[in-house]
């Protein structure tokens, strides 16, 4: 079944936000929006679920902390106890203050890097990936809203979008 989508282009972010609200009120389904820069409040206007990356980040941090503790315990205490400045070298807990910077750094390191990797995976980005951008002008100054037109009358939808202030409306058959 051939699906039809309509690409409505806007040339202002405030106009876009208004339009997105109207489109959703009109019970049309927005597939995706392409913008040249992050538009504040767009996620809420689109009704996207809030991000869970904070929870993921917290868990990554815990993992990093655990790795740091296990690593320093193995390196400095179990495998080859190192005597630095006469500090107790056979007990992790007594030597703990010396390891706090490492524990802190690895917590941050794991949280930050794994968070970025998670973000790439969730947004399906990887090296040499071809851009999915439907219209090059969205990298410059245009905002593109992709609307599913399969179950709607195209003329009605076009008029509706025109009323929301779209600068250009294209029908795409996939």
């Amino acid at each position: 079944m051939a699906s039809k989508v309509i690409h409505a282009l806007y040339n202002d972010d405030d106009l876009l936000l208004q339009a997105v609200k109207q489109i959703r009120e009109g019970r049309y389904h927005i597939g995706e929006i392409y913008t040249p820069f992050p538009v504040h409040g767009l996620d809420k206007a689109m009704g996207l679920a809030t991000t869970r990356i904070a929870i993921a980040s917290f868990m990554y941090g815990i993992v990093g902390l655990g790795v740091a503790v296990a690593m320093m315990n193995f390196i400095m205490i179990e495998d080859w106890p190192q005597d630095i400045g006469g500090k107790p070298s056979f007990s992790y807990i007594q030597n703990m203050p010396a390891f706090v910077p490492i524990m802190f750094e690895l917590t941050v390191f794991f949280a930050a890097h794994l968070m970025v990797i998670t973000f790439y995976m969730r947004s399906k980005l990887w090296p040499f990936k071809k851009a999915e951008n439907p219209d090059l002008r969205t990298t410059d100054d245009m905002f593109l809203v992709e609307i599913d037109a399969s179950h709607h009358d195209v003329n009605d939808l076009t008029n509706f979008l025109y009323d929301t202030g779209a600068a250009e409306i294209n029908l795409i058959e996939k």
């Binding site: 904070a54 917290f58 400045g85 006469g86 500090k87 203050p97 010396a98 706090v100």
Partner: protein, 509 residues
Amino acid sequence: MIVGAIGLIYGFIAAPETVEEVKEMMASHGEHGEEATDHAEKVNVEQLPGGNNAALHTDEENHTNSDSMNTEANQTATASDSTETETNHDASASEEDTTATATHAQGNMAHEDHEEGAAAVHGEDHDGGEAHGAEAEHGDEHYEHILQQLQNKPWAALYVAAFFFFMISLGVMAFYAVQYAAQAGWSPVLFRVMEAITAYLLPGGLIVFLLLVLSGLQLNHLFIWMDPDIVAHDEIIQNKTAFLNVPFFLIRAAIYLGGWCFFRYLMVKNSRKLDNADVDDLYYFKKNFKLAAGFLVFFIVTESMMSWDWIMSLDPHWFSTLFGWFVFASLFVSGITTIAIISIYLKSRGYLEFVNDSHIHDLAKFMFGMSIFWTYLWFSQFMLIWYSNIPEEVVYFIQRIEDYQLPFFGMLATNFLLPVLLLMNSDYKRVNWFVIMTGLILLFGHYINIYVLVMPATVGESWFIGIPEISALLFFTGLFVFIVFSALTKAPLLVSRNPFIEESKHYHY
């Protein structure tokens, strides 16, 4: 003992009075607010003299308490020989313990430290062997030493509580100045709350100053470098007398306090005048902006010196270069927490309807961030000294770890772990009762922080949170809340004509 108990009971009686006062005050404020504002002001003016008298009365009572407790400690000391020997035994036993477990050098250092605190004429000159051999003679000295510590205890308790509440007010003043200097758009709705909290700056400062003067008059032994007998036998302190002498110390304290109160007076006056200014007349706003910048420069220098003078000099042999920052972190986070708690309280009573969850969210973010900042400084100071293990520096922490283990490490839980875990979630920062609970934990933790900064040098190992501590804390809580809430009634709770006030009202995160 009996007389001591009576003194303690006195303290006990004094304390609930202040608490009731607080409750009464809050209740009366709640009632007044529901009436028209001008009416509330009237009633408060009537109420003020009586309330003030009550506060002063309890103040005196408290003072006499601590005085009487001093003499009582003396009496009990001379009264019962049996307890004397008992305490002696305990003390020497614990002393042996420490010398046994610690390395020789450390034991020696600990000894020195004790002697300093005790104002005993025992100098630095004894070596390890002498220290051990003199264990028997130490009997009397230890006894005297513990007596001194116990004599110091009510003073130190009073000092800790007085400084703690003064510090809150100073932290709020710094935060207020930061808001002006940064021309922050979110915070003007909270300005009146901040101004009210800084109203405690003058009375709180005067109380602290009074305590310092009393120390300078040798009425207590909080600051051992003020005692000429000790200085005569202590070369290290002798080298510091150019800076650490009583007149210069008090002059400095007067300069700090005078400067802070003067800036506070001018800024609040301008803020009130701005309320009645014409539209688009930003004269007072600009003036306050400049004053805020000036205050911050003055503050960061004087605050640092204040922390050396009023806290670090309790341990005159020890020094740390980031001490000023450490105290600053503590006072800043306590101040912000107090703003949050009072704002939420007033909001729950329906006075600050223009304060929304986003403002509370921002305050909670500050609490979160500043708690981490405090921990960073605490750890930086601790780890460097722990790692390098230089005797003259490390005694400071050895004493705290051996004698104050629970508060010293418990502090990390209340000031770092709990706030960080509780306030990490963005949504929790908007849940008002959650912020209050975390704030109370934080304030308690920072009281303990000041306690651990002051007590080891003044009371040594004979510390416990007893009646003097609790009653001093309750007394100053009462005084603080009384002054802050009566200051709140003296001006409209919302500043007007501030150029950012509309932005602040509609602030949304």
